[in-house]
């Protein structure tokens, strides 16, 4: 009520009273924000800077200096840490996990949005809450479960769900589904219901309504979620650390932990390794920034 009255008054009076803030305040604001922004970028820029300098040079001249430019750290880091292999592992895990998450989540979201059954609220709560639980709280039973469930040798050389890509994919899907169900069901609820009436008249089955009516309309939300989920699953550290054993099978983010020993005495190598690991997420960030932000904020607020 109050909002409505305020709105009317506000729109009427607004053009006349919009005042420009005094210039000096703006200058201070820009100085402050500029300083904060530079401060925020600094750790990343420092990592890039360090990674491009030779260890010998920084060892003699200290890090607060300039010079000793080289690209060798990247080559050494790539070779020693076998980044090629680990990047590939990340792809094996991230791509199927993201596709499966989006598919399964959109199925549930469709049913929740399309039909107004009472259980839908419980279902939505069950999925959304699962995404927010602390992973460590599930570790003990899950660890045991994974070491008990056998897999045929052609699926995983560990012959168990433990230490297999499948196990990691499944656990990531189970965890990420909730967030996607929440976002997608909100998105689908906003679609006009008449669409389905029309589809029903045409005799379209539920599956066709889902796949040919709803899904194409959800492309923006799916794109945003895909961007976000790729980043999250690529960045996932905990499950891979505890549910994998074979060093060769670790995805990039968790393989970082193994690099520690090898790189310990050489910060220039550490920084080159860090930059290499960050590159995929930075590429996503700069190319798909809009999608990324949309995905994050879709979850928090509608719109």
């Amino acid at each position: 009520m109050t909002a409505a009255t305020l709105t009317r008054e506000g729109t009427a009076a607004a053009p006349a009273t919009r005042r420009r803030p005094p210039r000096p305040a703006r200058v201070v604001l820009h100085l402050f924000l500029g300083a904060v922004a530079v401060g925020w970028l600094f750790p990343i820029l420092w990592a890039v800077l360090t990674s491009l300098r030779s260890y010998e040079y920084t060892a003699t001249h200290g890090y607060v200096s300039l010079g000793g430019w080289t690209f060798d750290n990247y080559l050494t880091a790539w070779r020693t840490a076998e980044f090629g292999k680990h990047f590939l592992n990340s792809v094996y895990i991230t791509v199927p996990a993201v596709l499966l998450t989006l598919f399964l989540a959109s199925c549930v979201a469709f049913v929740i949005a399309r039909f107004s059954w009472k259980v839908n609220i419980a279902l939505l709560g069950l999925f959304t809450a699962a995404n927010l639980l602390p992973q460590q709280a599930l570790l003990i039973p899950l660890f045991r479960m994974f070491t008990e469930i056998p897999l045929p040798a052609w699926l995983s050389d560990s012959e168990l769900l433990y230490d297999s890509y499948w196990g990691l994919i499944l656990v990531n899907v189970a965890f990420q589904c909730g967030f996607c169900v929440f976002v997608l069901s909100n998105y689908m609820k906003a679609l006009p219901h008449e669409l389905y009436e029309a589809a029903m008249v045409d005799g379209a089955s539920v599956w066709r309504q889902y796949w040919q009516v709803t899904m194409p309309l959800c492309r923006p939300a799916l794109a945003a979620l895909a961007t976000l989920e790729v980043t999250w699953i690529y960045n996932e550290f905990f499950w891979a650390t505890v549910l994998m054993r074979t060093g060769d099978k670790f995805p990039v983010t968790s393989s970082l932990n193994n690099l520690r020993g090898e790189f310990f005495t050489d910060n220039n190598l550490v920084s080159a390794g860090s930059v290499l690991v960050a590159i995929p997420t930075l590429v996503i960030f700069f190319l798909l920034q809009k999608q990324f932000v949309r995905g994050l904020t879709l979850g928090a607020s509608k719109g």
């Binding site: 709105t7 008054e9 009076a13 607004a14 009273t17 604001l29 924000l33 500029g34 925020w40 970028l41 750790p43 990343i44 890090y63 607060v64 399964l104 989540a105 199925c107 549930v108 059954w117 009472k118 609220i121 069950l126 809450a129 927010l132 639980l133 602390p134 460590q136 709280a137 599930l138 570790l139 003990i140 039973p141 499944l170 965890f175 909730g178 929440f182 909100n186 609820k189 009436e197 029903m200 690529y234 960045n235 550290f237 905990f238 505890v242 983010t253 970082l256 932990n257 910060n267 920084s271 390794g273 860090s274 690991v277 997420t281 930075l282 960030f285 994050l296 904020t297 928090a300 607020s301």
Partner: protein, 317 residues
């Protein structure tokens, strides 16, 4: 099997309006057998996955915390020990108290410093500023990095012999290693990421505020600060709650950063790291682990409920 009760449940719902109910009732009866099988599968497959890999393990954790299972032996040999594990964790497990302290410190640091700072930056960036996009990008760049990676990035600043901080200050502090300072060093890195995240969430919330609200307040002669606190902040109640929950859950789930540094020991104890160390570490004590895990679960469920209540209420509007 499970599709039948679903449909009956719908019939029990009070009709919001006569016309739509009639339409809906007809629609449901129109669902063919295949449609019902498809709907069941669409819900059941993801449900089995989430219940099997998230909710059942959560329940099992709670149950295990009351037993003396060693994690290796057959499940048949489990004995019920009541609250003994909790008693042991509190009384004879030295890292417990530091872990609780660190988790609370983590929460306090995010809640008192990082979250308000992120909100403050969002309010500043919400004005129509030239270059606002650059500032935003810089601030949430850390959000795309994993916390594990952030541990490595900050090592370049904190390292004792090769770090920037000691080079500038001329000190000899091992910022990650010294148990007196390392939690603070880690909190700076965690806050660095958290500020950007909160800024992003809050900025989205602010964009959704009806601009005429602010204009009306300005007409009434309200200053910018009091407009924010009296008009904008109350309107943003849902996003405020979400930010609160995100802050609590993030500080409860904090793990990656301390695990890459030293596996959560020597000043960096966290509940999450203790649970993990008790399962995959050398000295595995499932009893301690599951009691600690249950504590995490209970705390998180309180805030998850708050979160769900908020977002679902939003839904109904």
């Amino acid at each position: 099997m499970s599709d039948l009760p679903l449909i009956q449940a719908d019939r029990a719902v009070a009709p919001p309006a006569a016309t739509t109910t009639r339409g809906r009732g007809r629609r449901l009866r129109l669902l063919s057998r295949t449609d019902r099988v498809v709907i069941t599968l669409m819900v059941l497959v993801p449900l089995i996955l989430v219940v099997g890999l998230v909710w059942l393990p959560a329940l099992a954790t709670v149950l295990l915390s009351g037993t003396n299972w060693d994690g290796i032996g057959p499940l048949g040999e489990i004995d019920w020990v009541g609250l003994k594990n909790y008693d042991d964790v509190v009384n004879i497990y030295p890292p417990f108290v530091p872990a609780i302290q660190n988790n609370l410190l983590w929460l306090a640091a995010l809640f008192v410093v990082a979250t308000p700072f992120g909100m403050f930056l969002a309010v500043l960036l919400d004005k129509e500023l030239r270059g606002s996009r650059f500032y935003q990008t810089a601030l949430y760049l850390p959000v795309v990095l994993s916390l594990a990676l952030i541990g490595f990035v900050w090592q370049l600043i904190y390292s004792r012999d090769q770090g920037l901080l000691n080079a500038l200050l001329g000190g000899e502090t091992d910022w990650y290693g010294d148990p007196h300072v390392n939690i603070w060093a880690v909190l700076v890195a965690a806050g660095w990421r958290h500020v950007g995240y909160i800024m992003l969430l809050y900025l989205a919330g602010l964009k959704g505020v009806d601009p005429s609200l602010r204009e009306a307040a300005a007409v009434d002669g309200s200053s910018e600060a009091s407009t924010f606190f009296r008009v904008v902040f109350p309107v943003l109640r849902p996003i405020n709650i979400i930010v609160l929950v995100v802050t609590v859950i993030e500080s409860l789930r904090a793990f990656d950063l301390v695990w890459v540094i030293n596996k959560g020991r020597n000043g960096l104890e966290l509940i999450s790291a203790l649970v993990t160390a008790n399962v995959v570490g050398e000295a595995s004590r499932i009893g301690f682990g599951s009691a600690l895990a249950t504590i995490m679960l209970v705390v998180s469920l309180v805030f998850i409920t708050l979160y769900l209540a908020t977002v679902m209420r939003e839904d109904k509007r």
